[in-house]
Amino acid sequence: MTNASVHSELLDLLTEAVLVQNELRTEAMQVFRKLGLPGNKNEEYKHTPITRALEKGLQLRASFVTGGALPNEDQWKISGLNAYHAVLLNGSLLPEKSFLPSQVTAMPMSKASANLQHVKDNMGTYADFRNDAFAAWNTAAWSDGVYLEIPEAVKLDKPIVIYYLHDSQAGQVKSVTRNLVISGRNSEAAIIEKWCTTGSNTVISNTLSEIVLHESARLNHVVLQSDTDAHIQYLFNQFWQHSGSFLNSHVITLDGGFIRNNTRVALDGENCESHLYGLYLLHKNIIADNHTVVDHRKPNSYSNELYKGILEDQAKGVFNGKIFVRPDAQKTNAFQSNRNILLSDKATINTKPQLEIWADDVKCSHGCTTGQLDEEALFYLRSRGINKDTARAMMLYAFASELLDTVNDAELKNYLDALVSERLHKNF
């Protein structure tokens, strides 16, 4: 079979059973068909063989299963975290299993987009789907998701966790979900996203969230990826910040099959502050790609980005960070840093920190390093009677903990700390 025919079969498979109902979906479907699946000639997917992962992972002639069984809570719930939650199973929100705060407006996206005019109006206006096949696919084919509106001045006492559960025991699963989060003026909230797969058949998930922060809103956002290798994941989070808003974003990748994260922030107001943090601890054959965009559209804002990675075995990491400073965005301060440690000679990292600046009165910098553990520091620890493995584990833990320290929620931090420690064999 030729490559082209595999491609068109894949396209057909992905778009089967899409109920095209409105202009936006029709346009997005046209874009998806036109762009096709990205190959390695596509600059945005140069080192990210997502199409190959789909070809390998999906059975072309088998269709996708829907429905499924909800696994035990202890398999997917973040232990020790007191939080609200929304639960999605194979792409559909289960309202009866969800527990959401009474102060917020929350409903399944399928319902919200049908009933609320402003949801209809806002959808697709923030996240650009015209230049990315997977964003177009999501816009055309999403089935459900979560709509959350945090009203003005509401400060939530607990974080909201969105659990995406997939049951692929009966066959391969496709889950295309779409969220819209509106943080009202002066509101404060924390949102956590987590995925969990049961079953060994391939799961392809495509999650796109449009998250709007109105004036002076504060949001902590955490993405936690620690799923099985059956999961091929595309994730697109588009944040849109208005004046005086504050964003803390974490993307923590510990396990999975194939992962592509697009994290984009538009600073569309003055005096905004954004912190983007990423930690990827990759092992086995995982391919994880973080593409970030920080788009400074207005003056006097601040952004800071720090992504760190430790790569073992045959893992492959990709980082691409773009900072745009538009002509109007004078007095912008933007910083970006990407640091990587390679632990095996089969692991690879492709990183591309990118600055595009059109304003002159700015302070922007980026830095990027790839290396190993500092031999001298290791020697220092060993000279104090700490054995080599412990010393290594200590140093790796220290490298990763710089990022864990930036997580605000103490309960979540403990949970993450336990996961990271286990991974890095910390037993000191």
Binding site: E43, I349, N350, Q354, E356, I357, D360, V362, C364, G371
Partner: protein, 481 residues
């Protein structure tokens, strides 16, 4: 602010000083490109059959290639059939010595400040002067020959040293490497050839000076430097062109082949006509430069000061194949008015313990766009590879842009790769400080820019450094924000 802008404008509005043309009788090929033109060029130069075959092969490959669109530059479609691919000053016979060279030609180069008369030994630089398509004179040839150094025009090398040319031509930049390299391989007209024998340290700077004179022509020269075991050479390249309203294409290829323990230093001061204030005219400088550190402990360093050209698009690269070899890249790229530059380097680490260092300083003013694009690639077997990159951008005014596209690909866990970049402007406080000490604004800008670019300028040979410093000040005359 408005006052700053005013100074900025005055400073940037300085005219191009090498914009004159000389009236030299020329002979040229008809416009357009096809196999006959290539045969014509080849016949003009009395080339052997193998070279003609090589050119034709390159041409056939070129016709199958498409012009790359990925650089961060925009320009109208180039009509490759509207270019004259060969233009040469008419000469009755091959000049035996400098006395036989057309005095008008010598005057042209004298006006550029390049002395082709060997009496001026003080300068101590051997020059190969290339006007449009051909090399007009090479100085100090005999003196260099005593040491076994071959330094001559490319056509002469093809005649006198075919075995060397045949062996190394295309060994670093294959004919089908990219669109413009293929075009160059098909139509290259002349250039310089240099061979440094085993263990010889070249006693003087070797230099090529390129001048485009004729209208509607493209310049396609090719430079090949072969440094044998343990040799050293420092090579300079300079370029200017007259002021014309249409854009002219310059697609050159530079190949450097460094053997065991060889050290090559290649410096460029590029001052092609950048176009006028409205961005009309100017040279498209699409150049492929690459060095192969083939032997152990070999070292190549590229230094470039880019001030001219409407569009600069080049990435002097090092392939670090030999163990312990090292590559360096120092660059200052200045863009003003409507100039566009997409420049940077590639460091490909293949051998063990290879080292590379990149220092790139971009300065943009006016409506220009300045991009750094670089790749550091550490391959699997490159144990202990080390790279340090720094790319800084300086913005003057709020209508220009500075962009950074570094690609870092690491496949070996013992590699240490560092990259850092900053973008900033000349601060009002820095200018205020200078003013306070009685330094006027214009000198303050020159001072700050020179300080900013010093790390790179220090790498240039002395004669060049002075010229480059002056050039920087001129290009930016009037630019503070």
């Amino acid at each position: 602010m408005s006052k700053d802008n005013q100074i900025l404008e005055e400073f940037t509005s300085r005219e191009y000083e090498h914009g004159w043309t000389s009236d030299i009788e020329m002979e040229s090929a008809p416009k357009g490109l096809n196999e006959d033109i290539i045969r014509f060029i080849s016949a003009k130069k009395n080339e052997p059959d193998w070279l003609l075959e090589w050119r034709l092969k390159a041409y056939r490959q070129w016709t199958k290639m498409v012009e790359p669109k990925w650089p961060n530059v925009t320009y109208p479609e180039i009509n490759y059939q509207d270019i004259i691919y060969y233009a040469a000053p008419k000469q009755k016979a091959t000049p035996k010595s400098l006395e036989d060279v057309d005095p008008e030609l010598l005057k042209t180069f004298e006006r550029l400040g390049i002395s082709l008369t060997e009496q001026k030994r003080l300068t101590g630089v051997a020059v190969d002067a290339v006007l449009d398509s051909v090399s007009v004179a090479t100085t100090f040839k005999e003196k260099l020959a005593e040491l076994g150094i071959i330094f001559c025009s490319f056509s002469e090398a093809v005649r006198e040293h075919p075995e060397l040319v045949k062996k190394y031509l295309g060994s670093v930049v294959p004919m089908n490497d990219n669109y413009f390299a293929a075009l160059n391989s098909a139509v290259f007209s002349d250039g310089s050839f240099c061979y440094i024998p085993k263990g010889v340290r070249c006693p003087m700077e070797l230099s090529t000076y390129f001048r485009i004179n004729a209208a509607n022509t493209g310049q396609f020269e090719r430079t090949l430097i072969v440094a044998d075991e343990g040799s050293y050479v420092s090579y300079l390249e300079g370029c200017t062109a007259p002021q014309r309203d249409e854009n002219q294409l310059h697609a050159a290829v530079v190949e450097i082949y460094a053997m065991k323990d060889a050290h090559v230093k290649y410096s460029t001061v590029q001052n092609w006509y950048p176009g006028d204030k409205e961005g009309k005219g100017g040279i498209y400088n699409f150049v492929t430069k690459r060095a192969l550190c083939a032997g152990e402990n070999s070292k190549v360093s590229w230094t470039q000061v880019e001030t001219g050209s409407a569009i600069t698009w080049k990435y002097p690269s090092c392939i670090l194949k030999g163990d312990n070899s090292s590559g360096e890249f120092y660059s200052v790229a200045v863009t003003n008015n409507y100039q566009q530059a997409d420049t940077g380097t590639k460091m490909i680490h293949i051998g063990r313990n290879t080292k590379s260092r990149i220092v790139s300083k971009g300065i943009s003013a006016g409506h220009s766009q300045n991009s750094y694009r670089g790749q550091v690639h550490v391959l699997k077997r490159a144990e202990n590879a080390r790279n340090f990159s720094q790319c800084d951008s300086l913005l003057m005014g709020n209508t220009c842009g500075a962009h950074t596209f570094p690609y870092i690909d690491v496949e070996n866990n013992s590699a240490r790769v560092e990259h850092e970049a900053t973008t900033s402007k000349i601060g009002e406080d820095q200018i205020f400080y200078c003013l306070q000490r009685g330094i006027d604004e214009e000198s303050a800008v020159a001072l700050i820019v020179n300080g900013y670019a010093k790390e790179v300028l220090n790498q240039l040979p002395m004669e060049f450094a002075v010229e480059a410093q002056k050039l920087l000040a001129l290009t930016l005359e009037g630019s503070v924000g």
